[in-house]
């Protein structure tokens, strides 16, 4: 029956739009930059698989292969991670305002990474930063959830977000303090916190890809169960779901994705709110659709924001987190108003 195809898989039209937008965003990311490389050349380069085609200089091919392409991929991975983990946190905390940034996950990852840069073994930063960021992200979410839950009183939503903001401020303060103590690494940490997409290379792709792939795949697999949690813990249990275990798996996966994003791109806020809520407006609230589409639209969104970040004030670059906050803060207020009754 025709109605049934739509229950189990994302709405087809939205998926087509999502893929189309992603392709357009990737092309924009490759085409736009300080060095003009013609559209035709970029396409020819794409279809010659990295070899500089005739009529294109080695240097132009190098810009595409070593600067723009890894940057587009990392922006896409980070956007997909933040949007998907935002959607996942919103599902398991049943809170429309949950976001990696607001829950303290990003701040925790930032603190973890700062400790790794400032106090860890200097030679092993590539290994220690992602691990420390992951642990920090879990600590951040754990604190926010623990504090938010202990004084619920029927207003779980607000108290979770308030706890998250408090935890984020506290962890950021600790991070600032530690930075001051290790001023020789200050620059390194700072460029990293503001988002390092400007210096992104293939090593960042390889750093983020495994965690992002693992986390997003896990969340994609359990997307059907995220729908079950929507009816509340008790009802979900009556449907045979182990809610505690699912929540743990989802928080671990979402925090891993957040940590990977923070480890390569620094602190970028609101993506986890903007993207899933936009997707919900398009296809409704079922995570069967919201989750896969958040991956597509999250990747596209951050690639486009990154293009804006490097063109709006060219030749200077605006930190990408500044743009997401400029868009995201009003969006947050809009979501807050829409969900007033639920929160």
């Amino acid at each position: 029956m025709s109605t049934h195809a739509s229950i189990v898989s994302p709405r087809n039209r939205a998926t087509v739009i999502g893929v189309g937008v992603l392709i357009a965003a990737i092309l924009a990311g490759l085409l736009i930059g300080p060095v003009r490389i013609g559209t035709v050349n970029v396409f020819r380069w794409l279809f010659s698989f990295g070899q500089a085609p005739t009529g294109m200089s080695e240097q132009e091919a190098l810009i595409l292969a070593e600067l723009r392409l890894p940057r587009v991929i990392v922006a896409g991975l980070v956007g997909a991670s933040l949007a998907t983990s935002g959607a996942a946190y919103q599902a398991v905390f049943r809170n429309p305002l949950a976001d990696p940034y607001l829950l303290g996950a990003a701040a925790g990852a930032g603190l973890g990474a700062t400790i790794a840069v400032g106090y860890g073994p200097a030679g092993a930063i590539d290994v220690t930063v992602p691990i420390a960021a992951f642990v920090g992200a879990l600590v951040g979410v754990g604190l926010a959830y623990g504090l938010g839950r202990s004084n619920l009183g029927g207003r779980a939503g607000t108290s979770l977000v308030l706890a998250g903001v408090a935890v984020a401020s506290f962890l950021t303060a600790v991070q600032t303090f530690l930075q001051q103590q290790r001023s020789e690494t200050l620059r390194q940490v700072y460029t990293w916190i503001l988002g390092r997409l400007g210096t992104t290379g293939w090593d960042d792709v390889w750093l983020a890809l495994p965690s992002v792939a693992l986390a997003v795949t896990t969340l994609w697999i359990v997307r059907r169960l995220l729908d079950v949690i929507e009816v509340g813990d008790v009802e979900a249990q009556s449907l045979g779901l182990n809610v505690t275990r699912l929540r743990l798996v989802v928080v671990l996966a979402a925090s891993l994705a957040t940590a990977a994003a923070v480890a390569v791109a620094g602190l970028i806020g609101f993506v986890g709110i903007i993207v899933p809520h936009t997707v919900r407006l398009l296809v409704g609230g079922s995570y069967r659709s919201v989750l896969p589409l958040s991956v597509l639209f999250g990747a596209s969104f951050l690639i486009i924001v990154d293009v804006l970040a490097r063109t709006v004030a060219a030749p200077a670059e605006i930190p990408i987190g500044v743009i997401t906050a400029l868009v995201g803060a009003p969006f947050f207020v809009a979501v807050l108003r829409r969900n007033r009754r639920a929160i």
């Binding site: 049934h4 229950i7 059907r224 169960l225 008790v234 009802e235 182990n242 409704g284 079922s286």
Partner: protein
């Protein structure tokens, strides 16, 4: 082994010494109940008597002492999903994911039938289609839940429970917030499903007239204790209701109008 509504096991539900405490305070104490397979038991009692707690304890959603058997099998032996395939719960105030479509919501009832990695198959979609059809919601399949009326929403929740295909249905106040026509409609539907599929129904209800017209047996809970159990003629009596509800009522059994419990004010005496 599966829990099935077997005709050779006459009892669908066997409850022995069931007690629930919340922070040392007894909410339900030492309840003993039998529900025959295919029957309809209604748990009645004043507000705060522990009806909802008892329903949750029977469903295994709340820590309790004592034993619950489903068609002879102890509940403790059943896994989560096995349990959910044996009994479906319709809560008093279901959490409604507003932006879900009706069919997406009903599909949640298939959860206990699916493995972790399995997607829904044709069998599951068929169960959803059947449930929608039986609750007269086919027209609403792709409508959003927040566009439904109160009665339609109740039917959607019931459709989810039907799609679960459990032989025992636990309904906590299935008629709350509905107008009189919708109350009758929901209860008639439940009764039809019970007859057609041989379902066993356990419900809590406040409206004693409706309860008395649909259920076969009644368990009166007061202060967490089972104070009366039996058919209408033994439990729904003016003096019993007066004692435990603290309300003066009359019971009429009129040949033309049927059976009813009516509240009496002081001047009616």
């Amino acid at each position: 082994m599966k829990v099935e509504a077997r005709s050779d096991a006459a009892l669908a539900l066997e409850i022995r010494g069931l007690s629930v405490e919340l922070g040392k305070r007894p909410i339900v104490s030492d309840v003993r109940l039998d529900v025959p397979s295919g029957g309809w038991l209604c748990i009645i009692g004043p507000n705060g008597a522990g009806k909802t707690t008892l329903v949750h304890a029977i469903a295994g959603l709340m820590p309790h002492t004592g034993s619950v058997r489903l068609w002879g099998r102890p509940m403790d032996e059943l896994g989560r999903r096995e349990r959910a395939r044996a009994l479906a719960v319709v809560p008093q105030l279901p959490a409604i994911p507003e932006s879900f479509s009706v069919d997406q919501y009903v599909l949640l009832g298939r959860t206990p039938h699916l493995g972790l990695l399995a997607g829904e198959g044709a069998r599951d979609l068929e169960a959803v289609a059947t449930a929608l059809e039986r609750l007269d919601l086919v027209w609403a399949a792709s409508r959003r839940l927040d566009s439904l009326s109160g009665g339609e929403l109740r039917r959607a929740v019931l459709a989810r429970a039907i799609a679960q295909e459990a032989p025992l249905l636990l309904l906590d106040e299935p008629t709350t917030g509905l107008d009189i026509a919708q109350q009758l409609r929901v209860l008639e539907l439940v009764d039809e499903l019970r007859r057609a599929d041989g379902l066993t129904v356990v419900s809590t209800m406040h409206d004693l007239t409706l309860a008395g017209r649909f259920a076969h047996r009644f368990a009166l809970l007061s202060g967490g204790r089972l104070v009366a159990e039996g058919p209408r003629s033994e439990v729904l009596l003016p003096h019993v209701i007066a004692e435990h509800y603290g309300a003066r009522v009359g019971v009429i059994d009129d040949g033309a109008l049927g059976w009813a419990v009516v509240p009496l004010s002081g001047s009616d005496a």
